[in-house]
């Protein structure tokens, strides 16, 4: 794996900020895009652009075929059974809002849903929705559920974690006994780097008859995803966190649930027949894809998947692990250093804070040395509250980061800390 060769595919990395080379370590917020992805989206607009699905003419058919091919690629990447189990959305946040809204309607309309085939458990809705989340969720996998249960007079349950950011599985199981209909869990925490044992959590949730939703925003680019092996009911992700353009993401859902769920948004594309009195809806997945989609970005996503697959994924994982290890080794020499999130199973980011130094100050100063990290609560305010801190400084890695960049980060943090003490 030649990192310099990889970097050449990312022209954006080759720039100076404040007279210093850019060291981009904010990949958990968004990743940069390789030339092949940029060119794919550009080519679409240069030669192929057309509205899809309903046209009889050549361009429309070509664009439709390309878009549906992209869907098949995503399905293959996550090992979904059928391509129509992949709904394209704008991203993780939209996917989660879709689920929360749609299930809210379902639960509130008091439909009985028996005979769900997973693990033989039957699942009946009641008027009062209960959703179980973990204590480490990003706001996008917390607020939609919270708002939904509040709207319908239900309850939000929160599975706690320990001081290392490891989920308390015993407490998790105890909360399952309270009968939540839905369990929503982060695959990888965007603040703590914790990789949750989602396969085991899903198995437990199914034993208690709950539907499972996995937030894969931070895992899609870094861990191999097999939705059939996980047996999750839903898996959501964002393109822009996996070297694909912004404005595209996905929702994988088991057919049995997607069939039962009411649509999220209405209008063009998602209908079958329409009159002023009545409308019938399109079949899967189009039922959930109202309006003209971001075809160009979907093609970019397909190319990003091929880009990820062009590497030995194990080698990339080892590379990212080495960057994390070097970061922790370098930073731990700094007086007052405190790492937030020290789970044994962890992914490619490091959150830290230095005693007596506000993360905002640290991040601002190292920015002037060309180092781009993120500071604050990272859209996970409850996590910061739990650890009693105003926020953290977070360095997050991607395939194109180097050990030299880790050295620059560590030196910058050292300098900044000395200035601020």
């Amino acid at each position: 794996m030649d990192v310099n060769e990889i970097r050449r595919q990312f022209p954006v990395l080759d720039q100076q900020v404040y007279g210093k080379p850019l060291v981009y370590l904010d990949n958990a917020a968004t990743t940069q895009k390789p030339l092949c992805v940029i060119e794919r989206e550009r080519d679409y607009y240069l030669h192929e652009n057309c509205n899809i699905h309903r046209g009889v003419h050549y361009l429309s058919q070509m664009a439709t075929e390309a878009y549906e091919n992209a869907r098949r690629t995503v399905a293959r990447f996550v090992n979904a059974k059928e391509a129509y189990e992949i709904v394209f959305t704008r991203g993780t946040t939209e996917s989660l809002n879709l689920l929360a809204t749609s299930f809210g309607h379902l639960l509130a309309s008091n439909l009985s849903l028996r005979g769900a085939e997973h693990s033989g458990a039957t699942w009946q809705s009641t008027r009062r929705p209960k959703v179980l989340v973990t204590a480490m969720e990003h706001h996008s996998n917390l607020v939609p559920w919270q708002q939904m249960v509040q709207l319908y007079g239900g309850e939000l349950l929160v599975a706690p974690m320990d001081d290392n950011g490891v989920l308390d599985l015993q407490a998790y199981e105890n909360l399952l006994k309270q009968g939540p209909q839905i369990v929503a869990m982060a695959h990888v925490s965007n603040t703590l780097a914790t990789i949750n044992p989602v396969k085991e959590m899903i198995k437990l949730a199914h034993q208690y008859g709950a539907i499972t939703v996995v937030d894969g925003a931070q895992s899609m680019a870094h861990l191999p995803i097999d939705v059939q092996d996980l047996d999750c009911d839903f898996f959501v992700f964002s393109g822009h966190k996996m070297y694909a353009p912004m404005g595209i993401g996905g929702l994988y859902g088991k057919t049995e649930w997607l069939e039962k769920m009411p649509p999220y948004q209405f209008g063009g594309e998602m209908v079958d027949t329409v009159s002023f009195e009545k409308t019938t809806f399109n079949k899967l997945p189009f039922k959930f894809e109202a309006g003209t989609p971001n075809v160009g970005a979907a093609l970019g996503l397909e190319t990003a998947i091929k880009f990820i697959e062009s590497f030995d994924r194990k080698a990339v994982a080892e590379h990212e692990e080495a960057l994390v290890a070097a970061t922790i080794a370098g930073l731990s020499k700094i007086e007052g250093m405190r790492f937030i999130g020290q789970a044994p199973e962890r992914s490619g980011l490091v959150s830290f804070i230095i005693d007596g130094i506000h993360p905002y100050d640290l991040g601002t100063i190292i920015d002037k040395m060309g180092v781009a990290v993120r500071t604050g609560h990272h859209c996970a305010e409850p996590v910061m509250t739990r650890f009693g801190i105003p926020g953290t400084v977070r360095a997050s890695f991607a395939v194109y980061n180097t050990l030299e960049e880790v050295d620059i980060l560590v030196n910058a943090v050292n300098r900044a800390a000395n200035m601020l003490r």
Partner: protein, 124 residues
């Protein structure tokens, strides 16, 4: 260029240490201006027709900028504060801290200073 930025921030950090600190009795939610990253507390009083500010923040750079603003605005009349021009911050390269997208409490703090001036102007 590099040293320029470091010098600038070293100066700001020093200014932060010299900031006229808000009285302990005012360091509470009533005088708190919440930014999503750093917090700011601001108090103002009118004495002999002039406004005097004290403040604090949990972030040192924010405190430095607050002190800069206090040096400019404290001891001025409400009318002078209301008609002040903040473009000097642009000129010394600190505009980024006051952009509306910034998640520190500074933008709200400047607004609050103006509100104090407005209130004091009307009671005179």
């Amino acid at each position: 260029m590099f040293d320029d930025w470091m010098d600038r921030y070293a100066m700001l950090i020093e200014m932060g240490k010299e900031c006229p600190i808000i009285d302990e009795q005012y360091r509470n939610d009533q005088y708190l201006i919440n930014g999503c990253q750093s917090r700011v507390w601001l108090h103002a009083e009118l004495k002999d027709g002039k406004v005097y500010f004290t403040a604090d923040s949990d972030a040192v750079i924010t405190k430095g900028i607050i002190n800069l603003l206090i040096k400019v605005f404290s001891g001025q009349t409400p009318e002078d504060i209301l008609s002040a021009d903040l473009s000097f911050l642009d000129e010394i390269g600190l505009k980024e801290h006051l952009s509306p997208t910034r998640s520190n409490g500074l933008v709200s703090m400047v607004k609050q200073m103006m509100l104090y001036a407005e209130a004091f102007k009307s009671i005179q």
